[in-house]
């Protein structure tokens, strides 16, 4: 059985949490004691039905204010698929929490209130979805019941969104008219929307094909930990533990350790005392090499004929996530997998106005700003472009003064 990870995003009060509550409820994923808890909390919608948003608003502060502050992860499964939902906040103040949820999602549901149409948050969220390389977007035009299930309203929103999407990097966009509150087109086809010929939401989620673009990724193995038991019986044992973040490694592959550039041959791949012939993308394994070369945590094994850029200077798209603005005079700590290096931001190349998607010159970046920068690292780093390999093209910046994660970087290219 396969797994679909998706994020739900939308503006405040678009009904995201209600939509998820509805999906869980209608797939029998809400159990009796959880339902009782909802009934005890006694939160009702205007028409007296149960407010399902309480299923995902897990924090007291969220329930008090009726808003989502941080991502909630919810799990459900049908006969066809397993799902992990990241229910992301819509409020601009919590954009960084949406970025957190988006970074691990394969599909994004963008909710649009039928009465309001495409608004600034729709643009911001769609832009972040595109920036973080989520290949599939499903636009759910919600609250169709409040516009009398009018097809013209749906068509207008679809046209507006298509125009917006022209300037984004989203591979596949689909549209469904729904009412999360009433259950229209969530699990079953709505009789109120006869003009919609497509599938209801759940059917769509169960069958949508995700284009991971992973088929031609190059092989990458960041080393996390060196296993050296140094016991009598295993005196010469030296295994490099890590997770494959692209491509496939095979016993016999000629590999290079980066950044040192030393080369060797994969002599053995194992997982928990089981020898394997290959290690595919995503697998956590232990790799042995034919030669004793100096490799430690933070180094990366790659195939000799498939090498990434190794450089101390890169350009990257950036999402700034801290209340303290980007400081060009400050060193930050960059973290990529288990590799860390001090970096200095040399230049803000541009900032994007997410309302118009126009780029303009900027001297600094503030909370929730998105732009492009150039940075210089104290050590050589091995990056792919984020577009070609998310797992080896992304990094975070840490403020060394307070250890907070302050930015997400999506590498575009090395600078000579």
């Amino acid at each position: 059985m396969d797994l679909l990870k998706f994020i739900t995003a939308g503006s405040v009060d678009d009904g995201k949490s209600t939509l998820i509550g509805r999906l869980l409820y209608d797939t029998n994923s809400v159990l009796d004691d959880q339902l009782e808890a909802i009934q005890r909390a006694n939160r009702k919608n205007n028409d007296g039905t149960l407010d399902l948003a309480i299923l995902t608003d897990g924090l007291k502060a969220e329930r008090e204010q009726g808003i989502t502050i941080d991502v909630a992860y919810k799990y459900f499964q049908t006969e066809k698929r397993k799902f992990i939902i990241a229910d992301a906040p819509g409020h601009i103040q919590y954009t960084r929490n949406m970025v957190t949820g988006a970074s691990n999602s394969d599909l994004a549901i963008i909710l649009i209130d039928a009465r309001k149409g495409v608004v600034e948050q729709t643009r911001r969220h769609s832009f972040i979805v595109s920036l973080l390389g989520i290949p599939n977007v499903l636009v759910c035009v919600n609250k169709m019941d409040m516009v009398d299930y009018d097809q013209a309203v749906f068509d207008k929103i679809k046209t507006d969104y298509e125009r917006l999407a022209q300037s984004l990097r989203i591979k596949q966009i689909d549209y469904i008219p729904v009412s999360a509150l009433k259950g229209d087109n969530i699990v079953t086809t709505s009789i109120n929307i006869p003009w919609y010929q497509g599938r209801p939401l759940l059917d769509f989620l169960e069958t949508v094909q995700i284009d991971h673009a992973s088929d031609n990724k190059q092989a990458r193995f960041p080393v996390q930990w060196v296993i050296r038991p140094q016991t009598q019986a295993l005196h010469d044992y030296r295994g490099y533990a890590g997770r494959v973040v692209g491509g496939t490694f095979e016993v016999g592959d000629r590999v290079v350790a980066l950044p040192s550039g030393f080369s060797s041959i994969v002599s053995r791949i194992e997982l928990a005392n089981n020898d394997l012939n290959t290690a595919p993308e995503g697998a956590s394994v232990v790799i042995h090499l034919a030669d004793d070369i100096d490799i430690s945590r933070g180094d990366m094994l790659v195939k000799q004929d498939e090498q990434p850029a190794v450089s101390q200077r890169f350009e990257a798209e950036i999402c700034w996530m801290d209340t303290r603005p980007l400081d060009l005079n400050q060193f930050y700590l960059l973290q990529q997998h288990g590799k860390t290096a001090k970096v200095k931001i040399q230049d803000v190349i541009y900032r994007v106005n997410v309302e118009t998607l126009q780029q303009s010159a900027a001297a600094e970046l503030d909370l929730n700003d998105i732009g492009k920068i150039q940075f210089k690292s104290a050590d050589p780093l091995a990056f792919d472009s984020y577009v070609s390999n998310k797992a080896n093209g992304g990094a975070i910046l840490i403020d060394l003064r307070n250890n907070l994660t302050v930015a997400a970087l999506m590498i575009t290219e090395p600078v000579d």
């Binding site: 299923l55 992860y73 996390q224 288990g338 797992a391």
Partner: protein
Amino acid sequence: MDYLDHLEAEAIYILREVAGQFEKPALLFSGGKDSITLVHLAEKAFRPGKFPFPLVHIDTGHNFPETIEFRDELVARLGEELIVGYVQESIDTGKVVEQKGKNASRNPLQTVTLLDTIAKHGFDACIGGARRDEEKARAKERIFSVRDEFGQWDPKRQRPELWNIYNGRIHKGENVRVFPISNWTELDVWNYIRRENIKLPSIYFSHERDVITRNGQLMAATEFLNLDHEDVIEYRKVRFRTVGDMTCTAAVPSEAYHIDDIIEEIRLSKISERGARMDDKVSEAAMEDRKKGGYF
């Protein structure tokens, strides 16, 4: 890769990140199925080497004897270090006061013992078996969850956590709680236990024992429960779906003797796993409040 392979690979990756990023990590071991699964994953992550952390058990003194027996056998087989923090010690030194009355439990006292044990050994990271599907506050928590020097979780100020990059940098005195099986569901854990043939304490499987009914839940009849004349002891066929100490973990009537029966039972269940936890029933925000106070 199959979804169980995916979950396993993710958990192993997280465990190795803990080893790589921290100086003095620990694995919090309760004797329950989730922490037993964590130990199995740690074997996959670090063998044939030693674990880069000890197992730490916060012992309320009100354990099921089967759990303690299982723990000691497991530790002996692993050849790894076990550190035990005793709630009794916290009571004896006056750091906490035992609850009184019929529903008294040592569960809330554990937090103090846990924080003391962390401070005493200088642990900078504590690996736990909590899952996001268990409870709605847990559904919000990061995989690397930073606690301040008072052990508190601040849900409104969590660090962004992108891709599989985990920022474990902290100041002295703070610590990080790490949850490698955050993305597993109860059913995933059981399917994995079946696939990997992981051994569990016998109380997870159907057996006959003396029970009483309290607040609508079946509790093992034990001296820790302050039994009185109103409590009617019955001999019933039950099993435990979740294992905490004897005062806060309820049994469910069950005929599930084998793991296949258990998986089928959970699939059909209309009650959530933590529905059998008295400690979650205190209030709507019971888990969030305890986490803010430094709980697991």
